[in-house]
C-alpha cells in the first residue's frame, strides 16, 4: 500500500437533518492526492440520531480515527478548528402568533414605563422647563414644543444606533446588534465545543465498555 497524506480542515458549523449520514466532505475540507480525497470524502462519520438532540460536536480525533480505518497508514495533517459543530435542523416550529403578540406588548409596555421612570429619576421635566426658560425667557409648566420633538428623537436615536430604519438599512456595515448576536453565538459555540464534546467522549467510553 502506497503512503498517502491528506490535509484536513474542519468546518466551524454545519447544519444537518435527522437520520442523515454525515459524510466527511460535509464537515471538513479535504486536500491531497485526488485518489485519497476520493476514497475519503464519502465516508460517513456520524449518523444523526434523535437522541443527539440539537447539537453534536465531532472532534477531529474521531475523524482521524475514521480515516485511519479506511486508509491505514494515511498521514493526516490537520489545519484550523479541532472540531465541527453539527446543528440538527428540525421542522421549524410554527410561530405562535399569540405568544409573539404577548412578547411584543411586554417589550412595548416595559420600554414605555422604563423611559417614564428614567425621566422621573433624572428630573427631566424640570430640566426641560429650565431649557425652555433659558431659550425663550418665559417659564412654561409644559414645554411641549421641546418635549414632543424630544420624544420623536428618542425613537430616531435608537433606530440610528441599531442601523435600521424599519426594513431599510442605512449602510452595509453590521449593526452593533448583529455584532452582539454574533458574539453571543460564538460564546455559545465555545461552550458547546467543550461541554458537548466531553459528553460525547463519555458516551463513547460507555459504548466501548458495553461492547
Amino acid at each position: 500500500m502506497e503512503r498517502s497524506s491528506v490535509y484536513i480542515r474542519m468546518r466551524q458549523k454545519v447544519r444537518v437533518v435527522l437520520h442523515q449520514g454525515v459524510r466527511l466532505e460535509e464537515i471538513a475540507q479535504l486536500a491531497g492526492p485526488a485518489k485519497t480525497v476520493k476514497a475519503l470524502q464519502k465516508a460517513v462519520i456520524h449518523v444523526v440520531k434523535p437522541e443527539d438532540k440539537h447539537l453534536i460536536v465531532i472532534d477531529i480525533m474521531t475523524v482521524v480515527k475514521r480515516i485511519q480505518d479506511i486508509l491505514p497508514g494515511c498521514e493526516v495533517q490537520t489545519i484550523g478548528p479541532a472540531q465541527s459543530i453539527l446543528e440538527i435542523m428540525y421542522e421549524p416550529k410554527k410561530l405562535n402568533t399569540l405568544f409573539f403578540i404577548l412578547v411584543w406588548l411586554l417589550l412595548f409596555i416595559g420600554a414605555a414605563v422604563a423611559i417614564m421612570n428614567f425621566h422621573e429619576d433624572v428630573s427631566m421635566q424640570v430640566v426641560h422647563q429650565k431649557i425652555y426658560q433659558l431659550i425663550t425667557g418665559e417659564f412654561r409648566q409644559q414645554p411641549l414644543m421641546l418635549q414632543i420633538p424630544y420624544s420623536i428623537g428618542l425613537g430616531l436615536g435608537m433606530v440610528l444606533f441599531f442601523n435600521h430604519v424599519f426594513k431599510k438599512r442605512l449602510n452595509e456595515e453590521p449593526s452593533p446588534l448583529e455584532v452582539e448576536m454574533f458574539k453571543y453565538q460564538q460564546d455559545l459555540d465555545q461552550y458547546v465545543i467543550i461541554h458537548e464534546n466531553k459528553e460525547s467522549e463519555q458516551k463513547q467510553k460507555q459504548k466501548v465498555s458495553d461492547d
Binding site: 416550529k93 410561530l95 405568544f99 409573539f100 412578547v103 411584543w104 406588548l105 417589550l107 412595548f108 416595559g110 420600554a111 414605555a112 414605563v113 422604563a114 423611559i115 417614564m116 425621566h119 421635566q125 426641560h128 429650565k130 431649557i131 425652555y132 433659558l134 431659550i135 425663550t136 425667557g137 409644559q142 414645554p143 411641549l144 414644543m145 421641546l146 418635549q147 414632543i148 420633538p149 424630544y150 420624544s151 420623536i152 428623537g153 428618542l154 425613537g155 430616531l156 436615536g157 435608537m158 433606530v159 440610528l160 444606533f161 441599531f162 442601523n163 435600521h164 424599519f166 442605512l170 449602510n171 456595515e173 452593533p176 446588534l177 452582539e180 448576536m181 458574539k183 453571543y184 453565538q185
Partner: protein
C-alpha cells in the same frame, strides 16, 4: 481666604470626578464611535471630543447660572430633537450592553422577527415619553 481656597478646591475636585465619570460613561457605551461609523467621519474624532467637552461645560454653566436668552421658542424644537436622538442612542446602547436582545431572540426563537421586536422597544419608548409629557405630568 482659606475658606475660599477650600471651596475652589472642593468645587474643582467635584468637577473632575463628575467630568471623568461622564466621559467614561460615554466611552463604555460607544455612542461617539457609532455616530462616526454611521456618518463615516472618523477623521473628525478630535473635534467630536471637543464638542462633547464644550457641550458638557456649557450645559453645566447655564444650568448653574440662571441665564436666559430671549430667543424664539421654535429653537427648542431643534434642541428637543437633538437631545432626544442622543438619549435614544444612550438607551439603545444600554440595552445592547446588557445583551438583552440576543438572548431574547435566541431563547424565544424570534430570530427572523428581531426587527419587529426592536420596533416594540423603540415605539414603546416614544409612546411612553409622549404619554409622560402630555398626560402623566398633569396627573
Amino acid at each position: 481666604m482659606i475658606n475660599v481656597l477650600l471651596l475652589i478646591f472642593v468645587g474643582f475636585a467635584g468637577g473632575i470626578a463628575v467630568g471623568s465619570g461622564f466621559v467614561a460613561f460615554l466611552t463604555v457605551l460607544g455612542i461617539v464611535p457609532r455616530v462616526m461609523q454611521l456618518s463615516k467621519t472618523y477623521r473628525f474624532i478630535r473635534s467630536y471630543e471637543w464638542s462633547v467637552i464644550l457641550g458638557a461645560v456649557l450645559g453645566g454653566w447655564v444650568n448653574l447660572r440662571s441665564t436666559t436668552f430671549q430667543l424664539s421658542p421654535y429653537l427648542t424644537i431643534v434642541i428637543g430633537l437633538f437631545s432626544g436622538v442622543f438619549i435614544g442612542m444612550l438607551a439603545a446602547a444600554l440595552t445592547e450592553v446588557l445583551n438583552v436582545l440576543p438572548i431574547l431572540a435566541k431563547r424565544i426563537g424570534f430570530r427572523d422577527k428581531l426587527l419587529v421586536i426592536l420596533m416594540a422597544i423603540v415605539l414603546g419608548k416614544v409612546a411612553g415619553s409622549l404619554f409622560h409629557w402630555i398626560i402623566y405630568v398633569k396627573l
